[in-house]
């Protein structure tokens, strides 16, 4: 099918670009490339975070528990390191697995929760998890202080073969490639979902779960599948982050900040797409740098503004905006689209400006 072939080509091209990007940056910017690479890495992290959250959102489950899964990944790595002598790399897939199992549990009990109730339940879940981890025996999970986690990459300075700044560069490059790999994996998963009958099932579920059931879609299985995919990616991400940041702690690993980033980015970029979260991440990571430098505490305010602005003015995100420009169509379709959006609110951010009167004149 033409669509799949195109997706494949683009993905491979993108992967190649990512592979060569660090080298390119070094050639172009020399010493300054270290910080550019760092910036690019942040964008990658945000992109994976966003894509993974979006995966779950596609079934209409707007979760506020994303930090629970990244945190679970991070803690898996940390505890594994602390308690066993297992090779570091083992912790990463294990982190993804633990997060996935956790999601299976959470997803199963929240199947009948929707909208705000689902959101609140997931938020409560995260808080309980955070508190529980903090209360685990310090020998196991480090209590409130947390656990230190060794870095994945520790390049050593060898005088004569390289310059001092290249130590930092090589370290950043290592993480960059790992995250790039994660992102490519996330893209592949997303594309596979979008190109298969899963897309229809997810869309049906998020539009109206009852109608979807009547058409033969198995809500439980689909929702849990989305949950597992989403959390697995989040767990992997959290695992790698633990190494990069050097430590995990209850407040840090399960911080609601992570969840905020995870949901604002795809909403801004364009929900339920593969490109949207990535686009959103790229733009926001760029802005975030500036924000962080201006406001050390409270830089998240920018994200709040972006979220509010997106809901009010850009319900379909950047992707929708771009699509509108190219197609030249009116915003959000005609009257029926507004009416559709009313059902359970499950069509996401369509029709933010209001629902058109369903009893309007019809041809």
């Amino acid at each position: 099918m033409r669509g799949i072939a195109r997706d494949l080509v683009v993905t491979v091209a993108f992967a190649i670009l990512l592979a060569f990007l660090p080298g390119l940056l070094r050639e172009l910017f020399g010493r300054a490339s270290v910080s550019y690479l760092s910036l690019a890495t942040n964008a990658l992290v945000l992109a994976v975070l966003a894509l993974s959250w979006d995966m779950l959102a596609r079934t209409g489950q707007l979760s506020l528990a994303h930090a629970a899964f990244t945190g679970a990944g991070g803690y898996t790595v940390a505890v594994l390191f602390k308690l066993t002598g297992a090779p570091l790399w083992l912790g990463i897939p294990l982190g993804g697995l633990v997060a996935a199992v956790l999601a299976l549990g959470l997803g199963s009990v929240t199947l009948r929760l929707f909208g705000i109730y689902f959101a609140i339940a997931t938020l409560a879940f995260t808080e309980v998890l955070k508190a529980a981890v903090q209360r685990l025996p310090t020998a196991v999970a480090g209590g409130a202080a947390g656990i230190n986690v060794p870095a994945l990459f520790r390049p050593t300075f060898v005088p004569g073969t390289m310059e001092r700044w290249e130590v930092a560069f090589f370290r950043n490059q290592g993480y960059f490639w790992v995250y790039a790999g994660l992102l490519v994996a996330a893209i592949v998963i997303s594309l596979v979902v979008q190109r298969s009958r899963l897309r229809a099932a997810f869309t049906a579920l998020r539009t109206n779960e009852q109608v979807a059931g009547v058409m033969g879609v198995n809500p439980a299985r689909m929702k849990l599948l989305a949950f597992v995919l989403s959390s697995f990616l989040a767990g992997l991400l959290g695992s790698v982050e633990a190494h990069r940041l050097g430590s995990v702690s209850p407040d840090g690993a399960f911080s609601v900040h992570t969840t905020v980033l995870a949901l604002v980015t795809p909403i801004f970029g364009g929900l339920y797409t593969t490109l949207g979260p990535i686009l959103g991440a790229t733009v926001l990571a760029g802005i975030e740098e500036t924000l962080k430098r201006t406001f050390s505490e409270g830089y998240l305010i920018g994200y709040g503004v972006v979220l509010v602005a997106s809901i009010l003015f850009m319900p379909r995100g950047l992707v929708g905006l771009i699509g509108k420009l190219f197609r030249g169509r009116g915003a959000g379709g005609t009257g029926r689209a507004g009416a559709l959006a009313d059902a359970r609110g499950a069509s996401g951010t369509d029709g933010a400006r209001g629902v058109d009167d369903p009893a309007e004149e019809r041809a």
Binding site: R197, A200, A201, T203, A204, T207, N208, Q210, V211, A212, G213, V214, M215, G216, V217, N218, P219, Y272, G333, T334, R336, A337, L340, A341, A343, S347, D350, P358, A359, R362, A363
Partner: protein, 273 residues
Amino acid sequence: MSTVLRVTKLSKSFGGLVAVKDVSFEAAQGEIFAIIGPNGAGKTTLLNLISGLLTPTAGTLELLGTDVTTMPTYRRCRLGLGRAFQVVQPFPEMTVAENVLVGAQFGSDGVSSAEARRRTDRALERTGLAPLRDQPVEDLNLLQEKRLEIARALATQPKVLLLDEVMAGLRPGEARQAVELVRSVRDEGITVVFIEHVMPVVRDLADRVLVMDHGAELARGTYADVTSDPRVVEAYLGVEDEDAQGGDEPVGVPSVDASSTADDAGGTTGGNA
């Protein structure tokens, strides 16, 4: 003719409110079975019980010989129960064909992509939507949307099709087309159970009619039987005779749900849900 749907003493209460009380009926294969009754009679609730969107407080349901009383909705669909909703809920950001494809892909177990596409095409043809297949669903008018509802349901390969007030909001010409469609569906061997307010349609289509009032059965029989039953007439507050345009429910009674729509001038749309 064999019984495809058997409803036995089905009841549903919401807290203290009894919505459906001890309703029983059987639909035979290839039959067109109508359920009528005044506002709030419990007709849609009954249909929701049959679909599996609600769990009954008492009674049993049998579909094609299998007890489905507690079976989840999607399994009933795979077994052969199709449903078209009163308020059409197409899946947004997908085309007409893609919407119908959902039904084709998930309506039965183990459907290959090719087979799903075939079923989709077939359903689109049957409902006359083939020329519109690549249209975004947001652009459809009311009649087209209703056809989409039916096409989606047909794509799930139902043996029993539940229709909920398909005629509401349609003009006479459109209603005639819808009636033809329902007839053709039955001619394929699909059993149709439908709720309707538009009496001429019931008269033209129904083999048997069940009248509900206040959640319970009021009368049953052929259209002629029930319309001449004084209790039915009284329940409806003045169904004059067959030739009346639509039911004469009190005009201006606000809709209980926002679904039923405005009358068309001089049309056959008589009632509100």
